[in-house]
């Protein structure tokens, strides 16, 4: 492998050689520079800005003036009616999403871990929702539960369970539940893969030993599989809590926050406050509270994964 540096004109060769002879520390730093600059300008600066904005009263569309109000925006959140109303919705949405996605992904992972004909094909097919954009998934589930041409209504009607098409989205709790189902649908492939990877890490000898001891299929699940997956299951739970706190795209095309404000969860409310009510200081305060929640949860989930990795 003759080097291209030899072929280059001398000044350039000198430059590349100097880089190559650089001490490891400085070389590593040099390679990190493009990333560091990008993250600094397009993540660190905006975050600082958001923090500062949250301490000011701003309505950019009305006037460019900022007036420093300290923690007033944060204090206002506690009494703000739309925030107080969004809290139970967010909790319900998160709880249902976690319950559905943890139970379904565990079941699917157990199924895919068994040997059966056509397993390889099934494993590929169930990846599908991972590739589908959340906005498209919102559109799909809107059509699944649509009151006039939803597949769910058609099936229930065809099976004789209902005599009239149901207007699912007119009830806020139904609408939130559908948002949960759609969110679960979208995240299931990733969760299942994570669990499957964990299951494949269980030593075969443990199963054989359990089988020889006469443990039934349920006992093997309870005493061999489950303890092994504990930290992954907690990781998945935290992950879905984060996903629920970040819900926006999918709800935007599923319900647009409706009926009324019925599916406006916390993160959606930030968007509404910033771009529909145009209260930027207020929106920033809410965004930062939600972000702090999400970031502390992320830190928790990362430390869980790190512990899993070391085992």
């Amino acid at each position: 492998m003759s080097t291209s540096t030899n072929a280059s004109p001398p000044p350039r060769a000198g430059f590349w050689q100097r880089i190559d002879r650089m001490e490891a520390n400085r070389f590593g730093l040099l390679l990190f520079v493009p990333t560091l600059l990008l993250l600094l300008v397009f993540l660190a600066v905006p975050i600082t800005f958001a923090v500062v904005a949250s301490l000011n009263s701003i309505e950019l569309t009305i006037s460019p003036d900022w007036s420093f109000v300290g923690l007033q925006n944060y204090a206002d959140l506690l009494t703000n009616r739309s925030v107080v109303e969004a809290l139970p919705r967010t909790l319900y949405f998160a709880a249902l999403t976690i319950a559905l996605s943890v139970s379904l992904s565990l079941t699917l992972a157990l199924v895919l871990n068994e040997r059966f004909r056509g397993r390889d094909l099934v494993r590929v097919l169930v990846l599908l929702p991972w590739a589908v954009a959340p906005v498209v998934s919102g559109v799909m589930w809107r059509y699944m539960f649509h009151d006039r041409y939803g597949l769910i209504n058609a099936l229930l009607y065809g099976g004789g369970f209902i005599t009239q098409y149901v207007t699912w989205f007119s009830d806020p709790w139904f609408a939130l539940s559908i948002a949960s189902i759609a969110t679960t649908w979208k995240s299931l492939p990733f969760l299942t893969l994570t669990l499957l990877a964990g299951m494949q890490g269980i030593p075969e000898s443990l199963f054989r030993a359990a089988k020889m001891d006469g443990a039934s299929i349920f006992h093997r699940f309870r005493y061999v599989v489950l303890p092994h997956l504990r930290s992954i299951l907690i990781f998945i739970t935290v992950l879905q809590l984060i996903v629920s706190l970040q819900a926006f795209d999918l709800i935007y095309t599923l319900t647009r926050g409706g009926p009324g404000q019925g599916t406006v969860v916390l993160n959606y409310l930030t968007y509404v406050n910033a771009f529909e009510r145009l209260s930027d200081g207020n929106a920033s305060a809410l965004a930062i509270v939600v972000s702090l929640l999400i970031m502390s949860l992320s830190a928790l989930s990362l430390s869980l994964m790190a512990r899993q990795g070391k085992r």
Binding site: F27, G28, T35, L128, P129, W141, T194, S216, A283, I294
Partner: protein
């Protein structure tokens, strides 16, 4: 009793679950696929009567003859493609020292990229809008490419670092003995050997950029509108018109990535699992 469970209960339960998960996975996609090739009158009927004779691609043709739909597909391809290339280049450069060199401050760099992964996009949307306005980049490809790169790069660095770490150091040492510089060792040895992992990372990045919505919604108005934003605009404006058109557009928005994922599925499964490992 146990024989009964093994010969009857287990297979029946297993296949019932397999069927349930297959239906659950494909039903929503199948339903909009059906809607996209049938006249609305067929599925609005109670109960719906779908007909094979009336299958038609005219809704696809109608959408694909609208310049703004074609443009938004083109925009998504360009934005996601460039984001992927930039992310992989920056990511490979940053992942290499993290995986290979025993440098001081390594933990600081790792910490930076972990921290960057945790930032939710909603908190950045107002500042990013103002920043891009200041830079006169609103409604350009560049704005979305920059934002997507900033968000996806930390993931890319982690995935590539994990893949690079699996390559035996001896391979690289041999290349260095043959006179390769460190950068040449990276581009001629590490990246080709980590090939499947690099492909997985590229698909992950492309799909992530293609499926993004919030920044596309806020940072583009006319010229750089991605397909996800175009679709959401159609959803809210077509309450009165043909839903087959919306369904066809939804299909157009997922077909490229779904094909990509199915063709490259072996890489992706490994990539997703590696991407979250610490």
């Amino acid at each position: 009793m146990r024989d009964f469970v093994y010969t009857w209960v287990r297979p029946i339960l297993l296949y019932a679950l397999v069927v349930f998960f297959l239906v659950w996975t494909v039903a929503p996609v199948t339903w909009i696929a059906i809607m996209s090739i049938q006249p609305e009158i067929n599925y609005v009927a109670v109960p719906p009567h779908l007909s094979l004779e009336q299958v038609s691609l005219r809704w696809y043709i109608e959408m694909l003859s609208q310049p703004d739909v074609v443009d938004s597909l083109k925009n998504s391809v360009i934005i996601s493609g460039v984001t992927t290339v930039v992310c992989l280049t920056f990511g490979a450069l940053a992942a290499y020292p993290l995986a290979r060199l025993n440098i001081a401050r390594k933990n600081l760099f790792l910490g930076i990229s972990v921290f960057a992964r945790m930032i939710p996009s909603m908190v950045l949307i107002i500042p990013m809008f103002l920043l891009m306005r200041q830079l006169r980049l609103l409604d350009t490809y560049l704005a979305l490419i920059i934002v997507y790169t900033a968000f996806l790069l930390p993931y890319v660095i982690w995935m590539l670092k994990n893949f690079f770490e699996q390559i035996p150091y001896a391979l690289e040492a041999a290349a260095r003995m043959d006179g390769c510089s460190r950068l040449e060792a990276l581009f001629r040895v590490l990246i080709p050997v980590a090939g499947p992992g690099v492909v997985a990372t590229a698909v992950f990045t492309f799909v992530g950029a293609w499926n993004e919505f919030l920044f596309g919604l806020i940072l583009s108005t006319r010229y750089s509108v991605p397909i996800t934003v175009k679709l959401s605009a159609l959803v809210s404006t077509t309450f009165q018109s043909d839903n087959s058109l919306v369904a066809a557009t939804g299909m157009l928005a997922i077909i490229p990535v779904v094909l990509l994922v199915f063709v490259l599925n072996r890489f992706i499964v490994r990539g997703l699992v590696e991407g979250i490992k610490y």
